[in-house]
């Protein structure tokens, strides 16, 4: 063990069963993104599932008309902040995938601004992922991914793609943006899968 002389730390770790290894709690909502914040007008916004025989798309109004869920979840950013009890409203990815015929094991989320991230379909289904458009009871701010972002809270938060516009279902796993730039393919915070080789 390499001890740093004189280091004590502030030890505000929070409940150990809710804060994964190497994370610290914050009350803020830090912003991370690799480029400018896109501002797509809602009348031009669609959410589309590709990679199936009959692609399926929803306009903003059509998405809003789908049954929504309000969930309270903990989120974990790979830059080490975790935030507990965040409240989101959106449409379960289960609901969206029910609209297409598929047996694909992988999905690549695509977004305004060109961002992509890969997620196994089994991490998106079974009540584990949403296309979220409200945060804390308010419409999601553009800097936090509005009008809608993917919400996959059990994986590091870069998987919860901001400004999401759809999913491409795939037979093989294709690394997305951060996954081709050094970050882990799956990103499970409880296994500390931050980077390649973790």
């Amino acid at each position: 063990m390499i001890v740093s002389r004189g280091f004590r730390g502030r030890r505000r770790d929070g409940p150990p069963d809710r804060v994964p290894p190497g994370q610290y709690l914050t009350d803020d909502f830090p912003v991370l993104s690799a480029g400018p914040t896109p501002h797509t007008p809602l009348q031009e916004w669609t959410f589309t599932i590709h990679g199936v025989d009959e692609p399926k798309g929803w306009t903003w109004e059509e998405l809003q008309a789908l049954p929504s869920e309000t969930v309270t979840v903990d989120i974990h950013c790979v830059t080490r902040w975790s935030k507990l009890d965040t409240v989101w409203e959106g449409v379960s990815v289960d609901t969206l995938l029910e609209a297409v015929e598929h047996d694909a094991p992988y999905a690549l989320a695509f977004c305004d601004g060109g961002y992509t991230t890969n997620v196994p379909v089994e991490d998106l289904t079974g009540g584990k992922a949403w296309v979220a458009y409200n945060y804390g009871g308010e419409p999601l701010d553009p800097e936090h991914g509005g009008p809608a972002r993917l919400l996959v809270p059990h994986l590091y938060f870069w998987k919860s793609a901001k400004w999401v516009r759809g999913l491409t279902l795939r037979d093989e796993d294709e690394p997305g943006f951060w996954e081709t730039n050094g970050y882990h393919l799956r990103g499970d915070p409880w296994l500390e899968q931050r980077y390649w080789g973790d």
């Binding site: 030890r11 993104s33 690799a34 480029g35 400018p36 914040t37 830059t79 060109g114």
Partner: protein
């Protein structure tokens, strides 16, 4: 990715809140200008804390960090106020393959840094000098006061031969100040930035508010969103 022992070989105060640490990392695999690394601190009872920091040094020139103290932070107060020559921390990296500039492309480069957001940009400016790149490069820096302009003498001295530094001081200016004296806005960017017709490479680093203002201003100046690479820092103390 493996944790590596890193010894503080030298340290110097940049400003009362900002300190530069030169680390001796025998097993460092090398890095690219703009990348960051993780620092891990371990207390005597085994408690650990980790944070990410941009690498300030150019590739091949050791591993140097410049850290700003966040008062409610956990790692930055130790690195700024406590760690001194001979102390030991752990690092792993390098991390990130997007916010990087290698110095082998001819396109003009615009670097826009707010406060200590200049750190990864300084690595790029140092890389330009180190490899003898002739790519035109402008560094637009926003700082609150002249005293808070980190690396001022060193980077100003790199000016010439296609490298230019433009300062704006947002809170107070010394007597006779000839630089800008306001927050970066659309008009300021229009005056300083390369014309959009030159398809420049752009790297913006600073607080979220700073990065959003700069990126939005550049989009309004006709820049393509794909040219603009951003790095934001917030609560990563």
């Amino acid at each position: 990715m493996t944790w590596l022992a890193a010894d503080v070989a030298a340290s110097r105060e940049e400003t009362p809140r900002v300190r530069t640490l030169e680390l001796d990392v025998p097993d460092w695999p090398g890095h690219r200008a703009g990348q960051h690394l993780d620092v891990r601190l371990t207390a005597e009872d085994g408690y650990q804390a980790e944070r990410s920091y941009s690498i300030a040094s150019a590739p091949g020139d050791g591993v140097t960090l410049t850290v700003e103290r966040l008062d409610d932070g956990e790692v930055s107060p130790y690195l700024v106020d406590e760690a001194r020559e001979g102390d030991r921390v752990e690092v792993r990296g390098p991390i990130g393959g997007y916010f990087v500039w290698d110095g082998d492309e001819p396109e003009p480069v615009l670097l826009v840094g707010g406060g200590s957001g200049v750190v990864p940009l300084a690595a790029m400016a140092r890389q330009r000098a180190r490899v003898g790149s002739t790519a035109p490069m402008k560094l637009l820096r926003s700082s609150r006061t002249i005293e808070e302009v980190i690396y001022r003498e060193e980077l100003d001295a790199l000016a010439g031969g296609g490298f230019e530094v433009v300062h704006t001081l947002t809170r107070s200016q010394p007597p006779g100040w000839t630089g800008y004296s306001r927050r970066i806005d659309r008009e300021l960017l229009a005056e300083v930035a390369w014309p959009a017709s030159e398809s420049p490479r752009v790297y913006v680093c600073g607080s979220t508010r700073f990065v959003d203002a700069a990126a939005d201003g550049l989009l309004q100046a006709g820049y393509d969103a794909r040219w603009i690479r951003t790095e934001r820092f917030g609560a990563t103390g």
